[in-house]
C-alpha cells in the first residue's frame, strides 16, 4: 500500500510525533483507517474543486428552491434574489428590449385589452348616467348648479351620480367561511359580523352549486335596496364591501388591490389558519385604507319645505324688484320728458333692458346745454344708472346761442350780450380791440345772424354820454329882447364851461374832435327876422362868455333857432320866459346812442 503521507503531497496532514517517532503506529493507522482516509481525501478534494462544487450545487439548487417555497411565504429568498433579478431584467431591456417585449407580449395583450374594456365600460356607464339626468328635473337643477359653480355639466352629474359610502368591509377565510376581520364605518349599526360572514360564504357556495359554475367563479356582487355587496374573491381569503349607493367601477380595482395585498402579507397565516383570528388584526389597517380613501359623504337633497320657502322668497323678491323697477321707470320717464323740453337736447331713444337697472338715453346735446349729470341729481336720480349716448350738435335756441357767443367771445365785465331771434345785442363798455374782435367773429358763431353793437361804448364813452346829457339839460336864460348874459346866469355859464371842458377832454381821449352848437332861442313875440337876429346874438354872446371862461375856441358854434324851436308853450309869461334862452347840442363825436 503506497504511503501518501509524503512531503510532496501538501494536502496530506502531517503529524510529526507520529511520523518521526513511531513509524509502526503510522503503519498501524494506515492499516486501520486507510479506507476512511481515502474517502476523506476524496471528499476534501471535492470540496476544494470549484468545478465539482458548482456541479453539486447545480444538482440540488432546483430542489432546494422548491423546498424553500413549500415552506410558505418566505421573503428571505425573494429578498435575496430581487436585486439580481431586477438588475438582470434592466440590463436585458437596455441591451435588447425586443426579447423582454416578446416574452411579455402574451401576458400584456390580454391585460391591456381588459384595461381598455374596463375603461370603456366605466365611460359608457358615466355617459349613460349623464344622459339619464340631462332631461329630468334633477338634471335641470344640476345644470343650474353647473352654471353657478362654473363646472361642466358632466362633472356635476358625475359628482352626484357617484355618491356612495362603503359602510363595512369583511375579510373572511375562504376555506372555512370564518370571519377574520371586519371594519365598520362610523355610525353604522352592524349586525353580527361572524354570522353574516358565514352566511356570505354559504351564499357563495350556494350560488356556485346552483349554477354549476367553476370552482374559481364567484358571486361578485349582490344588491339589496340601496345596499350593494361587492365580493372580491382571492384564493385564500374573500373581501366583501358593503356599499350604500353606487360605487364607481374603479372601486372594484381598489378591492382587488387590497385582496392581493392581504394575500401577499398574510398568505402563510391564511394557510395555517386554525381559528385564531387575532393574527389578522394587523389587516385592519389595510382594510381601513381601502375604505376610508373611497368614502364619500352621502349628499342629501334639501328638505322640501326649505325649498318652498326659498322659492316663495325668491318670487317675493322678484315681484318687489319688478315693482321697484316700475317706479324707477316712471321717474326716469318723467326725467326724459323734461330733458326733451330742455334747450340744447334732442332725445331720440329711451329704454331699459330686461333684467337691467340701466337706462339708455340716446340723442344729441349741445355742449352749452346744462350738464345732464346735474339735471339727474336735481331730480334725485342716480347718475351711475344712466347710460347716456348723446351726440354733439349746435342748437339754435337763443339762450344757447348767447351762451355759445359768451364762451367764444369772452366779453369783459360790464358787457351784456343777449340774443333775440338770432340778433346778438351787445351793451356796455369794452376796449376797442375787443370790439374789433367781436365784429370780426360774431357772425361766424352758429346761430348768430346779425350783431347789434349800438349799445356798446368805448372806455370813457359812458362819461362822455353822461356829460353830454348834463349839457343837453343846461340852459342859459335871458331877459326879454336882450342878449346880455344876466348876472344870475354867471354860475350857469361856469357850469356849462366846465361841462364843455370835460367833454373836450373825453373827445380827445376817444381820438375825436369835440364840436358843440349853442342854439339861441326867443319867444314868439315880435317879427321872426328880429327874433332870428336876437337868437343869434344870444348864442354868440354865450360863446364869447364861455371862451372868456377858458374854453378852447372853435369848439362851440353859435346858431339861431329864433322862435321856431320853442322849449315851452307861449300861453303865459312864465312859459315865454323859458323860451328866451340858449341850449347846447353835441354835434361830434356821435359815439353812444343819443339819449
Amino acid at each position: 500500500m503506497p504511503d501518501s503521507a509524503t512531503p510532496d503531497n501538501p494536502r496530506r496532514p502531517r503529524n510529526p510525533s507520529v511520523e518521526g517517532a513511531e513509524p509502526e503506529l503510522a503503519e498501524l493507522r494506515d492499516i486501520l483507517f486507510h479506507a476512511e482516509r481515502d474517502e476523506l481525501l476524496a471528499l476534501r478534494e471535492r470540496v476544494h474543486d470549484f468545478g465539482q462544487r458548482s456541479h453539486d450545487v447545480a444538482e440540488v439548487l432546483p430542489e432546494a428552491v422548491r423546498l424553500r417555497g413549500e415552506e410558505g411565504v418566505d421573503e428571505q429568498l425573494t429578498e435575496a434574489l430581487r436585486p439580481t433579478v431586477e438588475r438582470t431584467l434592466k440590463e436585458s431591456v437596455e441591451r435588447d428590449p425586443q426579447i423582454v417585449a416578446e416574452a411579455l407580449f402574451p401576458a400584456m395583450g390580454p391585460s391591456i385589452r381588459r384595461a381598455i374594456s374596463e375603461y370603456f365600460k366605466a365611460l359608457v356607464q358615466s355617459f349613460d348616467q349623464a344622459m339619464q339626468h340631462s332631461f329630468s328635473i334633477q338634471g335641470i337643477r344640476w345644470r343650474i348648479e353647473a352654471m353657478r359653480t362654473g363646472k361642466s355639466f358632466s362633472e356635476v352629474a358625475l359628482l352626484h351620480s357617484l355618491v356612495y359610502r362603503v359602510e363595512q368591509i369583511f375579510l373572511f377565510h375562504r376555506q372555512t367561511g370564518l370571519l377574520l376581520r371586519r371594519v365598520v364605518a362610523p355610525e353604522v349599526a352592524a349586525m353580527d359580523a361572524d354570522m353574516m360572514a358565514g352566511m356570505m360564504a354559504a351564499l357563495q357556495d350556494y350560488a356556485r352549486d346552483s349554477f354549476h359554475a367553476a370552482k374559481s367563479d364567484a358571486l361578485e356582487e349582490f344588491a339589496v335596496g340601496e345596499f350593494n355587496c361587492w365580493v372580491e374573491q382571492g384564493p385564500k381569503a374573500v373581501l366583501v364591501a358593503v356599499i350604500r349607493g353606487q360605487a364607481p367601477q374603479a372601486y372594484r380595482l381598489k378591492l382587488r388591490e387590497v385582496t392581493e395585498r392581504v394575500h401577499a402579507v398574510f398568505g402563510k397565516r391564511l394557510d395555517e389558519f386554525s381559528g385564531d383570528a387575532s393574527v389578522f388584526d394587523p389587516a385592519e389597517d389595510l382594510l381601513i385604507e381601502s375604505f376610508a380613501s373611497q368614502r364619500r359623504e352621502h349628499a342629501m337633497p334639501p328638505p322640501r319645505p326649505y325649498f318652498t320657502y326659498s322659492l316663495a322668497t325668491v318670487v317675493l323678491l322678484f315681484v318687489g324688484w319688478q315693482a321697484y323697477l316700475g317706479y324707477e321707470d316712471w321717474r326716469w320717464g318723467r326725467f326724459v320728458d323734461m330733458l326733451r323740453e330742455e334747450p340744447g337736447y334732442t332725445i331720440t331713444s329711451f329704454h331699459r333692458g330686461w333684467f337691467s337697472r340701466y337706462y339708455e338715453i340716446g340723442g344729441m346735446r349741445d355742449p352749452q346745454s346744462t350738464d345732464p349729470i346735474s339735471l339727474l341729481q336735481k331730480e334725485g336720480l342716480d347718475p351711475t344708472l344712466a347710460d347716456l349716448q348723446l351726440g354733439r350738435y349746435y342748437a339754435l335756441d337763443d339762450v344757447l346761442v348767447a351762451k355759445r357767443a359768451a364762451a367764444l367771445l369772452a366779453p369783459p365785465a360790464g358787457v351784456r350780450m343777449t340774443v333775440e331771434s338770432g340778433v346778438l345785442r351787445v351793451r356796455g363798455e369794452a376796449p376797442a380791440d375787443w370790439i374789433r374782435d367781436l365784429e370780426s367773429k360774431a357772425t361766424l358763431i352758429a346761430g348768430v345772424k346779425r350783431v347789434d353793437t349800438t349799445g356798446l361804448l368805448l372806455p370813457g364813452q359812458s362819461d362822455f354820454v353822461k356829460a353830454r346829457g348834463d349839457l343837453a339839460a343846461a340852459r342859459l336864460q335871458f331877459n326879454e329882447g336882450s342878449a346880455e348874459i344876466r348876472q344870475d346866469q354867471r354860475a350857469a355859464v361856469e357850469n356849462v364851461a366846465a361841462l364843455l371842458k370835460t367833454l373836450d377832454h373825453l373827445a380827445q381821449e376817444m381820438g375825436d374832435e369835440l364840436s358843440v352848437e349853442a342854439v339861441g332861442h326867443t319867444d314868439s313875440t315880435g317879427p321872426d327876422a328880429a327874433n332870428q337876429r336876437l337868437g343869434l346874438y344870444r348864442a354868440t354872446r354865450t360863446v364869447q362868455a364861455l371862451e372868456r371862461s377858458g374854453l378852447r375856441a372853435a369848439i362851440v358854434h353859435p346858431r339861431s333857432a329864433g322862435s321856431s324851436e320853442p322849449l315851452a308853450g307861449e300861453g303865459s309869461e312864465s312859459e315865454r320866459q323859458i323860451n328866451r334862452c340858449v341850449t347846447f347840442r353835441v354835434l361830434r363825436p356821435q359815439a353812444g346812442a343819443q339819449p
Binding site: 367561511g177 370564518l178 349586525m191 353574516m196 358565514g198 352566511m199 350556494y206 381559528g275 383570528a277
Partner: protein, 168 residues
C-alpha cells in the same frame, strides 16, 4: 385567547337538529334559509380551559330522498355534530353513512354523535345494545333532548375540545 371554528351539523331530515340547538345558540337568520339556501348559520361561544371557542354552527339541511347533501358547505369544517333520531333507527344509519362519506373526503374532522329525542325513550328504535355496539367501535354517543336540553351543552363542549385537539 379566542378561536373560531366551523362546525357542521349533519343528520337526516327531521331528526330535530334545528330544534335541538335553538335555545343554545345566537341566531339572526330565519329558519327558512334552511330550505331555501340549504344552510343556516348560528353562533355559539364555548369556554374550554380558559380559552373561548366561537363555534360557527352550520345547520345544514337534512339529507333525504329528494335532496343530496351539499358537500361544499362542509369545506373547512373543524368538526361535525352528527344528529340521529332515537325513535327512528334509519336516521342513525343515515348519520353513520353521512359520517363515512365526510370522513373519506377532504374535510375529515372530529365528530360527536348525538341521538335525539331521549324524552321519547320508550319509543326508541335505537336500542341500548346498538349504542353499546357503537361504543365498542369508538363512538361516544350522547342522548339528547330538544325539550329538556339534555346533553346539548355537553355535545358543544366535547366538540369544542376536540377541535382544539383535546380529549372530549
Amino acid at each position: 385567547m379566542e378561536y373560531k371554528k366551523k362546525i357542521c351539523m349533519l343528520g337526516s331530515f327531521s331528526v330535530g337538529k334545528t330544534s335541538l340547538v335553538r335555545r343554545y345558540v345566537q341566531s339572526i337568520f330565519e329558519e327558512k334559509y334552511l330550505t331555501t339556501v340549504g344552510v343556516k348559520i348560528d353562533k355559539k361561544t364555548v369556554r374550554v380551559d380558559g380559552d373561548d371557542v366561537l363555534i360557527m354552527l352550520w345547520d345544514i339541511y337534512g339529507e333525504d330522498d329528494f335532496q343530496k347533501l351539499r358537500m361544499n358547505f362542509l369545506r373547512g369544517a373543524s368538526g361535525y355534530l352528527l344528529v340521529a333520531d332515537g325513535t327512528r333507527r334509519a336516521t342513525l344509519d343515515k348519520a353513520l353513512e353521512l359520517n363515512e362519506r365526510v370522513q373519506a373526503g377532504p374535510d375529515a374532522a372530529p365528530v360527536v354523535l348525538v341521538v335525539n329525542k331521549v324524552d321519547l325513550a320508550p319509543d326508541w328504535e335505537v336500542t341500548g345494545e346498538l349504542l353499546d355496539e357503537l361504543r365498542t367501535k369508538g363512538w361516544q354517543p350522547l342522548k339528547s333532548s330538544a325539550k329538556t336540553g339534555e346533553s346539548v351543552e355537553d355535545a358543544f363542549l366535547a366538540l369544542a375540545r376536540m377541535t382544539l385537539g383535546k380529549k372530549p
